[in-house]
Symmetry: C2
Subunit: 217 residues, 2 copies
Amino acid sequence: MSPGEALPPERELSVTHEVSRMTARKALSVLEGEGLIFRDATRGTFVAKPRLTLRVGSFSKEVERGGGRAGAEVIWTREQPAGQAAAQAFGCDERDPVHVIQRLRRWDDEPVAVETTYYPANLLPGFLDDELHGSLWDRLAEYGITLSTTTATVEVVTLDAEIGPLLQARQGAPGLHMTRQTYDVTGRCIEYAQDVYRADRVALTIDRPLHDRVGDS
Amino acid sequence: MSPGEALPPERELSVTHEVSRMTARKALSVLEGEGLIFRDATRGTFVAKPRLTLRVGSFSKEVERGGGRAGAEVIWTREQPAGQAAAQAFGCDERDPVHVIQRLRRWDDEPVAVETTYYPANLLPGFLDDELHGSLWDRLAEYGITLSTTTATVEVVTLDAEIGPLLQARQGAPGLHMTRQTYDVTGRCIEYAQDVYRADRVALTIDRPLHDRVGDS
DNA sequence: CAGTGGTCTAGACCACAAT
DNA sequence: TTGTGGTCTAGACCACTGT
C-alpha cells in the first residue's frame, strides 16, 4: 500500500478477521509504533510516509532522507536559574542564570522534535533578544565561540501530556529522548539540550571517528 | 520504591484504584516501556534497576553506568552470500561471500542486545574458526586492519518473535535497532552490523567531534 | 447525522510457577 | 491448588469531523 492510503476501519477489520475490536487495535498499535501507519481520530487509519533520518545534533541542513523543508518555531524562551541538570553540565552553580529556549522542529510542516536548549547567560548577553528561528550555532559564532565536540545520550521514552501534543502525537506514543552537551575548543560546555523526537517518524544517524580509541567491540 | 521491590498484583491495583484490570494494565505498560518496572508472568510486577548506558560502536570496556560484567555469547556463525544490504555496505556483489556472526550481549548476565555482524569473507580467511567471544575489533587487528570511522543509524522498533525471546523480552516490547558500518583507514567498509537493544534496559551515548563541519543547529 | 478512533468495563480462559 | 501476568471478548460511551 502507498503512503496516505486508508486502511479499513477498526470495526471492519475486527469483523473480517474475526477478532474483537480491542485485538485488532492492538495489532494496529504495533504498526503504529513502527511508524508504518498513523491514525486520525476522526478520519481513520492511513499508511505513513517513510521515517526521516536526521543526523545527531539535529542540524537543519543535514537531513538524509525525506526531502522537504526544515523549520524551527520558538515555543518559548526564558531566563532562569540553571537548576541541577544544567548546572552539572556547565559546571556552574544551580542558581547561576541560564537562557532556555524551547523550539519545535518541523520537517515539511510535520512536527518531528521538541528541542529545549540551555546556555550560560553570562557568556551570551542578549542572546534571547534576537533571531532564534535559524541556526543557534551560527548565533554562538557571533559571540566568538567555536564549538568542538558533542556528546549525546539517547533513550526511548513515552511521550507525556506536555510533549505529546506539541508533536501532534497521542500521549503514550514512543519517543526518542536525547540529552546533548556541546563543548567549545577550550573544553568548556556551552550548550546543554534535551531533545524529544517522535520515534515513529524519525531515525537518527551518527558519524563517529574512532581516532585514538580503536578497540574492543 | 527500590529495585526488585514487588508492586501489588494487577487485580489488586484495579480494585484499589477503581478501574478495570485492562486499564490498570495499560498504566503499568507505560511504566514498563519506560524501563521503570518489569513483569514476570508467574511472579508478579517489580521495580526495575536503572537503565545501562552504552557507548555507540563499542562495548565491553565502555559501559558508563551500571557496573558489572560484560559478556558476548555466540548464537551462530555462518558463511553466506552477502545479500542486498551487506553488498551495498561493502560495495561488493550480492553473491560475494560474507562471514556472519550473531552474538548475544549480556551485562551482569542480563541480555541487553543481539548483534549480527557481517564481514567480507575474502578479507578475513578463517575468521569464524577462532575465538569470537571477545573483541571482534581486536581480531580484525590480527588481519592488519586498522579501523577509522563508524557510522550508525538508530531507530525504534518493536521486538519480534525472533529477537524478543533472545533478549528475554516479551514480543512487542520496545527495541532500539542500530545499523552500523565501520571503515578502515583506507575508507573501505570492513564491518556491517545490525544490533537490536532492549530499549527498556539500555541508553546509548555518543561522542562526536564536530571537526570541520560546525554548522547549523 | 453517521462514522472514525480513543477509552473503558467486567468478565473469561490460558500457561506457568510456587506452595 | 492458588496466584500471577498474558490474552481476548463483546459490548459501551466519548469527542470530533465531515456531510
